[in-house]
Structures are given as structure tokens and as C-alpha cells.
């Protein structure tokens, strides 16, 4: 614990001394300009802050100065480089010398500004806005509106004092085609931080008379090109995108589009371009109408022509077909005539052929007939010959047979008779009693008769026995019957 007591001045001097030691050279500091004033002598006084990312809580703050001679160089350089007014709300990268004053305390003396950092930051911001609008689903909304065929009722948002406005109005009202445009100005601040709010308010007014207008033209003529940051505003873009009428922008710059340009229905570079766009739209429509009329006339004429042609064709066709039919019929008749000649000739020829055939046939059949008859006669002759020969042969055979028969039978008869006679002769020989006696048999006779039974004789009868060579006479002594 140092009990050394320092005067305030001494303390401040020691602080100053240590700061000077520590920050003997300028350092690059990132900060946001929260306030800025430029005094009469051209010095610029700034209030710098740093906020907590994602919130608006200030976590650091300090004063800063840019001396007039520096400021006079830095400001235009910054603004031409970034296209952005050097003003409050910008995030900047400053090359600053840390200063400490015994009376005024801590401050930064800005020697240089790096515009590239701010540019990057602006671009980042713009990307952020676009992302949010896309996330909200409104980015394309205005583009999806249909621009009327001829937008003739225009609500203009512009600064009433802007030089471009009058040019725009003149151009629109004095167009060479004599199209009539109805315009109504809704004044608004067209630059600086107030611009978004002011334009939004103007839009709100237009919204109340929505039905009276075909479209909204946001125009800004002639102003410095560095005042455009105000158009990269989320709220304004959100309103423009959702606006129920098509919005045409003519903010008047050549560089990157602002977010408003992006969300607008149609983006033109300048008010003049907007006026031309509107006039050309009307012109196009007028030309389309003319074209339509021409087309209609052509169609009607075409149809009339077509019908005329059709009738002429029909007449031609009639002529042609009738001629064709007549020719065809003539041909038919000619063919019939030729056929008549040919067929008659063929008919007659056939008949002649037939007659010839008949005469040939007559000859053939007659010849055949005669041949057959001849043949039959020939056959009859042959038959006669054959039958006759057969007959003769048969008769010859018969006679031969008779001859054989008579021979055979006469000889046979004689033979038979001979046999017969011999048989009789033999029989006779057996019968001849003389022959019987010769074999030893004898005949016994009684009273001159042959004795054939014992019973016919009595004992004592005189019997005669005849033998072959004489007779014996004897008396019966005894007789006996044989047993049978």
C-alpha cells in the first residue's frame, strides 16, 4: 500500500505517460459511430461505441476527433470508395492515436479510415437484410404482382424538390404518343436516415388509395450517389415487397442495386428510364391493339377469300368431275362396243369350232360304227366257222362212237351166245342119264317106272336095275326107311 498521495494532475499525467508508453504508435480500432458533429472550423467530433453482438447493449464507448485537415481528405475518399455518406451508424476501421488529456480524459485522434472494412460491413448488412426478407417469404412478393397492361395511374414517391421529378413528369405528360398518365406525388425524404421512415409513410398513404393507382414509382433524381445506404433498409424493403401495387424504382445510380431495387416489381436506373418504361408499356399495348385489329381484318379477309376459293374450287372440281365422269362413261361405252365386237366374234368362232367338232364327231362316230359293225360281221363269220367245225367234229365223234359200239356189242352178243350154248351143253352133259350110269349110279325101275321111294315097293316085288352097260332083274327081300 503506497501511501503516496498524488495530485489529480499528477495522476492524470502518470496515466497519460503510461498510455503514451503503451500506445506510442497509432492502432487500428473497429467501432461504430454513434454520434458525429462537425464544427465550424471543420473538425469532426465523434462518439464511438461497441455493442454486444446480437444486442444493442453498449459495452465500450469513447470520444474521437478527426482534425479538419485530415477530415477534409478522409471524408471524400471514404464516401467515393464506399458510396456511403460518412455518418452516424457506420461501422468503421479507424487508424487512431490514443490520447489522454489531463482535463478531457481519454480520446482517440483518428488519422486514417479503412473504407474496405465499412464496405464489407455494408455488404454483410445488405446480405443480412436479403436473407431476412427471404426468410419472411416476402422477397419476391411484389414481383409476383401483375403490372397492368397499361399502367396509367402512377403514385410517385419522391422528393418534391428533386430535379429528376420534374423531368420525369414532363417526360410522362408530354410523351409523343399522347398517352394520358395520371400522376400523384407522395412526397418523401429520399436520403439520409430519415428516408426509410419517410418513404414508408408515403407508402402507407398510397395504400389508403390503393384502388386509384396502377403502380408506384419510387424515384430520386440527381442526388449524390453516396446517399443510397438508406435504401438498404430492412423495414422499408419489407414494406415495399409486401406492397399491393407493383413498385417501380428509379433511384438513380449505376452501381449495385439497393435492396429496395431488388424487392421492387421493376427496377429502372433513373426516373427517365421509369418514364420510358411506362410510355413503352403503353406504346406496346397500343401496338398490340393495332396488330390485333390488323389480324382481325386479315382473318375476315382470309375467310372471305377462302370461301371464294372454296366456291371456285367447287366449280373447278365440278367441271373436272363431270368431265371425268363423261370420259369414264365414254370409255365404258367404247369398251362395251369393243367387247360387243370381240364377244360376238368369239361367239361365232366358238359356234364354228363347235360345228367343225360336230362334223369331225360325225365322221369319227360313223367310222367307229362301221368298224364295230365290220368287226361284228367278222366275229359272226368266225363264230360260224367255229360252230360248224365243232358240229362236224362232234358228228364225226358220234359216228366213230357208233362204229365202236356196234363192233363191241355185236362181238359181245356173239360171245355171250357162245358162252350160253356151252353152258347148255355142259348142263346137258350132266343131265344125260347115260353119263350118270357111267359114273356108277344106277336106276331102279318097278314096272317100267323109276322107283323114287321105298314106300312104293313091297317085299317080293320084282325090280329092274339099269346100269351103263346093261340091266339086272332082282326081287325085293327087305326094305328099310332111312332115318331122317
Amino acid at each position: 500500500m503506497s501511501d503516496q498521495q498524488l495530485s489529480l494532475f499528477e495522476l492524470q499525467r502518470q496515466v497519460k505517460g503510461s498510455l503514451d508508453d503503451t500506445f506510442s504508435m497509432p492502432v487500428w480500432v473497429k467501432a461504430e459511430i454513434s454520434e458525429m458533429t462537425v464544427n465550424r472550423s471543420g473538425h469532426c467530433y465523434l462518439d464511438l461505441v461497441e455493442t454486444e453482438p446480437g444486442t444493442d447493449n453498449v459495452i465500450a464507448r469513447c470520444r474521437a476527433t478527426i482534425w479538419s485537415y485530415t477530415f477534409r481528405m478522409l471524408k471524400p475518399y471514404f464516401e467515393t470508395t464506399t458510396g456511403q455518406v460518412f455518418t452516424e451508424g457506420l461501422k468503421v476501421l479507424l487508424h487512431a492515436k490514443v490520447e489522454y488529456h489531463e482535463v478531457y480524459g481519454f480520446s482517440l485522434n483518428i488519422r486514417d479510415i479503412d473504407p474496405v472494412y465499412t464496405l464489407g460491413d455494408m455488404a454483410r448488412q445488405r446480405r443480412e437484410i436479403i436473407r431476412r426478407l427471404e426468410e419472411d417469404g416476402v422477397f419476391e412478393m411484389n414481383k409476383e404482382l401483375e403490372l397492368p397492361l397499361v399502367p396509367q395511374r402512377i403514385a410517385i414517391i419522391s422528393s418534391p424538390t428533386a430535379a429528376g421529378l420534374q423531368d420525369f413528369l414532363d417526360q410522362l405528360h408530354n410523351n409523343p404518343h399522347k398517352f394520358v398518365f395520371y400522376t400523384k406525388l407522395f412526397p418523401a425524404v429520399m436520403q439520409g436516415n430519415e428516408a426509410p421512415g419517410s418513404i414508408t409513410k408515403a407508402l402507407e398513404q398510397i395504400f389508403e388509395y390503393e384502388d386509384l393507382f396502377d403502380s408506384v414509382a419510387i424515384i430520386r433524381g440527381g442526388g449524390a450517389q453516396i446517399d443510397l445506404a438508406c435504401f438498404d433498409n430492412y423495414e422499408l424493403a419489407f414494406n415495399v415487397a409486401q406492397f399491393p401495387l407493383p413498385v417501380i424504382t428509379g433511384i438513380g445510380h449505376d452501381k449495385d442495386d439497393t435492396v429496395i431495387d431488388m424487392v421492387a416489381h421493376t427496377r429502372m436506373k433513373t426516373p427517365t428510364a421509369v418514364a420510358e418504361f411506362l410510355i413503352s408499356g403503353a406504346l406496346r399495348f397500343s401496338e398490340e391493339l393495332k396488330e390485333l385489329e390488323k389480324h382481325f381484318t386479315e382473318l375476315v379477309n382470309d375467310q372471305l377469300e377462302e370461301n371464294k376459293n372454296r366456291l371456285n374450287d367447287a366449280a373447278d372440281q365440278l367441271n373436272h368431275l363431270v368431265n371425268q365422269m363423261i370420259v369414264s362413261q365414254q370409255n365404258r361405252l367404247n369398251i362395251a362396243r369393243i367387247q360387243l365386237a370381240n364377244r360376238s366374234a368369239a361367239f361365232l368362232k366358238n359356234q364354228i369350232t363347235e360345228l367343225k367338232q360336230l362334223s369331225t364327231e360325225t365322221r369319227n362316230r360313223t367310222v367307229r360304227y362301221v368298224t364295230i359293225q365290220n368287226h361284228q360281221l367278222e366275229q359272226s363269220g368266225n363264230k360260224l366257222n367255229f360252230a360248224f367245225r365243232k358240229q362236224v367234229f362232234k358228228n364225226k365223234s358220234l359216228l366213230q362212237q357208233f362204229q365202236n359200239l356196234i363192233k363191241f356189242r355185236s362181238i359181245e352178243t356173239i360171245k355171250t351166245e357162245k358162252k350160253n350154248l356151252n353152258l347148255i351143253q355142259e348142263k346137258l352133259r350132266l343131265i344125260d342119264p347115260q353119263n350118270i350110269l357111267k359114273r356108277g349110279y344106277s336106276l331102279t325101275m318097278l314096272n317100267g317106272k323109276i322107283l323114287k321111294s321105298v314106300q312104293l315097293v313091297k317085299e317080293g316085288d320084282l325090280i329092274e336095275t339099269r346100269l351103263s352097260d346093261g340091266t339086272v332083274e332082282s326081287m325085293v327081300e327087305h326094305k328099310k326107311l332111312s332115318d331122317q
Binding site: L421, L428, P433, Q434
Partner: protein, 66 residues
């Protein structure tokens, strides 16, 4: 034995009649001998006729075949 005018047929008929008589024993032995004689004579006549006929026929047939 005289009657030579008898035909062959008559002769045969007579022979057969006599033979029948003999067989029926209607003949006396004396007649028998006589009849046997008669038959024998008749047979001779017949044989003669036969021979003659035979010769004649043979001749005719021979002539016919020529």
C-alpha cells in the same frame, strides 16, 4: 333132227323148254335120252349159226374200218 329151218331164237327157246322139263323130272328116262339128243342137235345148229354170224359180222366190221 331134220328141221333145219328153225331160227336161232326158236332153237334156244326149245332147248330151254327141254331143259326145264328135265329139271322138273317130267321126263321119263327113255324120253330123257331122246330129249338130250334133241337138245344136243339144237345146240349144234345154234353153234353153226353163231359161227356163220360171227364170220359175217367180222367181215362187215373189217370192211367198215377200211
Amino acid at each position: 333132227m331134220a328141221t333145219k329151218k328153225v331160227t336161232y331164237k326158236e332153237a334156244i327157246t326149245e332147248i330151254e323148254e327141254i331143259l326145264e322139263k328135265i329139271e322138273n323130272e317130267e321126263l321119263d328116262v327113255d324120253e330123257l335120252a331122246e330129249q338130250v339128243n334133241r337138245v344136243s342137235a339144237l345146240i349144234t345148229i345154234c353153234k353153226d349159226k353163231l359161227h356163220k354170224t360171227e364170220a359175217e359180222v367180222e367181215k362187215i366190221l373189217k370192211d367198215m374200218n377200211q
